[in-house]
Each structure stands twice: as structure tokens, then as C-alpha cells.
Symmetry: C2
Subunit: 195 residues, 2 copies
């Protein structure tokens, strides 16, 4: 077996995913051709098929990778015990994680409709697992009386929508620091669900 080391394959693979990520985020999955991705990597279109069975799977793997990263990073957090501390931890974690990955986040929300049904189901399952964390925090807070939330599921959607909005305006090196952004959103989230 020749070229197990020094092979281009462990270099080209990531470069393809990176190029696809950027192009999908900028122009949309359907508007980007395999030849464009190949061109960005400096390779012919046929070479892409050593790394993905098809274009659809390339998109799916990007989304799945992103959501797995999200869930793994979330699992590594050590939130406190009481609901208020956990909500603050969740809010700040979400802002931080999403601000660092605008392209992944954009794709994971905008390209759902381009997933084949089976892939869509799996992506939705992962996203749901993440949202359930927030919903559980809200329910616990209602139980203990610190939160006044009439419908925890809907409020979960509302809070996540608000937090995701950060990516519509935030640009690295902008007017506000990460800490200021975190503090601003945490202030709004805390007040919006407090009793």
C-alpha cells in the first residue's frame, strides 16, 4: 500500500469541505456547482468524488458535523444547578458558539429544504436535542418559580430565534466586544422569562 502518508487526501478533504462551506453560505447550496467548489480548491470536479459520494451528502455532512460539534461543545459545559445560572450559561454559550461559526450556522438553518427527507430527519433530530436543553431549563425554572413562561416550547423557539439573530449583524472586530454582546443578550433573555 503506497502513499498512506504524505498523501494529498488528508489535505484535499478538509479543503473541499471548507470551500463548500464558504460557497454554500455565500450563494446557497443550489446556486453553487461542483465545478465552483473544485475551482476554489484548485482541482478538477471529478476529484471531489473521492471525498463525497455526491453533492447532497457534502451538504449533509457539513450540517451534521456542525450540529455534532454544537452538541459536543454543549455537553462539555458545566452549568450550575439552579435554572437561572443554567439559563445564563446556555445563553452565553449559544452566543459564543454561534458567533464563531457564521457560515455553519447560516447553512444549518437556510439549507434544510435542500436535504433529502432522510437527511432532513436526522438534522432535525440533532437540532431538537439541542433545543430540548433550553426547554428543560425553562421548565425547571417555572417549577422553582424563578421563570414566568406560559408555554416553554414556544418560548424556547422565541429565545433561540432572538439569539440566532446575532449573526445577522455581528461582525468580528466590530463596535461591540464578545463580552458586551453576551451581556446584552443575557440581559434581554433574563428579563423576558423572569417571573
Amino acid at each position: 500500500m503506497a502513499r498512506t502518508q504524505g498523501s494529498h487526501s488528508d489535505i484535499t478533504g478538509p479543503r473541499i469541505r471548507a470551500a463548500a462551506l464558504g460557497l454554500f453560505a455565500r450563494h446557497g447550496f443550489a446556486a453553487v456547482s461542483m465545478r465552483q467548489i473544485a475551482g476554489a480548491v484548485g482541482v478538477q470536479a471529478g476529484a471531489l468524488y473521492n471525498y463525497t459520494p455526491d453533492k447532497q451528502t457534502l451538504l449533509y455532512e457539513l450540517m451534521r458535523g456542525h450540529l455534532n460539534d454544537l452538541l459536543a461543545a454543549r455537553a462539555a459545559e458545566m452549568p450550575g444547578a439552579d435554572p437561572m445560572a443554567r439559563l445564563e450559561n446556555f445563553t452565553r454559550f449559544h452566543i459564543r458558539f454561534h458567533i464563531e461559526r457564521p457560515d455553519e450556522v447560516f447553512i444549518a438553518y437556510m439549507e434544510l429544504r435542500n436535504l433529502e427527507p432522510a437527511n432532513f430527519t436526522e438534522i432535525e433530530r440533532l437540532r431538537r436535542a439541542y433545543e430540548d436543553e433550553l426547554e428543560t431549563i425553562l421548565r425547571d425554572g417555572v417549577k422553582s418559580g424563578v421563570f414566568a413562561v406560559s408555554d416553554p416550547r414556544i418560548v424556547t423557539y422565541a429565545v433561540i430565534a432572538m439569539l440566532n439573530g446575532v449573526n445577522t449583524w455581528y461582525r468580528a472586530g466590530g463596535r461591540l466586544s464578545l463580552e458586551e454582546v453576551e451581556a446584552l443578550y443575557w440581559d434581554m433573555v433574563r428579563k423576558s422569562v423572569s417571573a
Copy 2:
């Protein structure tokens, strides 16, 4: 001049726009072909060009129409004088208007990247005009002391992102009535910006 009455032109035009709206919302602008739109209307692709100079303009006109409707409907509202009442009016108006037009809203947010620069600029101008209404309410409320908002522009983005989230889960005839949805979001908005 023949066929000024009984002509199909005043029927086909709206049907084309309606078909394009639904298809763009479901599959995305780039993923929908002119032949698909024509097929949905029951006409050949060439006939579409009696109603739009090109595919791009079809998208642009849909977005511009939607945002003009939005601004016109907003201008017809008679909010009260004090910031709290105006904020409640804005919130309920926004929810109501957006819930009734899921396809238009979806397109107006998701297909911005498919607009040519000149068209993009104009759409952004209209959206900005709408957002400025909310920002003004927030600034007035800060001045009069009823709102505690550190950065009115960013909070405007946050509130609008939260409200737009309604379209990710709301379905007509679902568990909650329109009034319940309005009340739920208004409760969150009010608390999140209150002093």
C-alpha cells in the same frame, strides 16, 4: 386594440407571481426553474416573459411588493402616543402581518443573496425603514424612562429576530390562537426591554 377585456393577461400575471412565490418559498429561488413556474400556471415557459423581463426581476418584484405592503400596512396603524403602547402595537402588528404571509416573509429573508446588488440595496432600504420604526419607539421609551435598553439598534435586531421566529413553528389552525400568540410574544417583548 383587441382583447383588452377578456384577456388572460390580468389573470395570468397574478397566477405567475403566486406560483413563483410558493415555489421559491418551498424550494428556494435557485432551485426553481422557469419551466416549473410555467408548469404550475399551466403555460409554456416562454409565456412568462410577457410578465417579467427575467427571473431575477420576478424575485425582486415579489420582495419589493411584500415590503411595500408591510410599510403601507404599518403606516395605516394608529398607535398611541406613549412608547409602551406603541411597542405593543408594533409587536402585535408584526406578529399578525407576518403570520398571514409565511411565504413572502420567508422569501424576503432567505433570498436576499440572490438579488443583484442594485435590487439588494433597494430591498435593504425598505427593510431598514421598517426596522427604524421599532428603533425609534425604543429610543423614545429610553428617553421617557420606561425602557432599559443599552443599545437600541441591536435590541431592534433582537426583537425582530424573536418575532420573526413565529414563522418557524406557527401553523394556521394549530394549538394556539392568533390572540394567544400575540399575547405570548408581547409578554416577552415587554419584559425584555422594560426598565
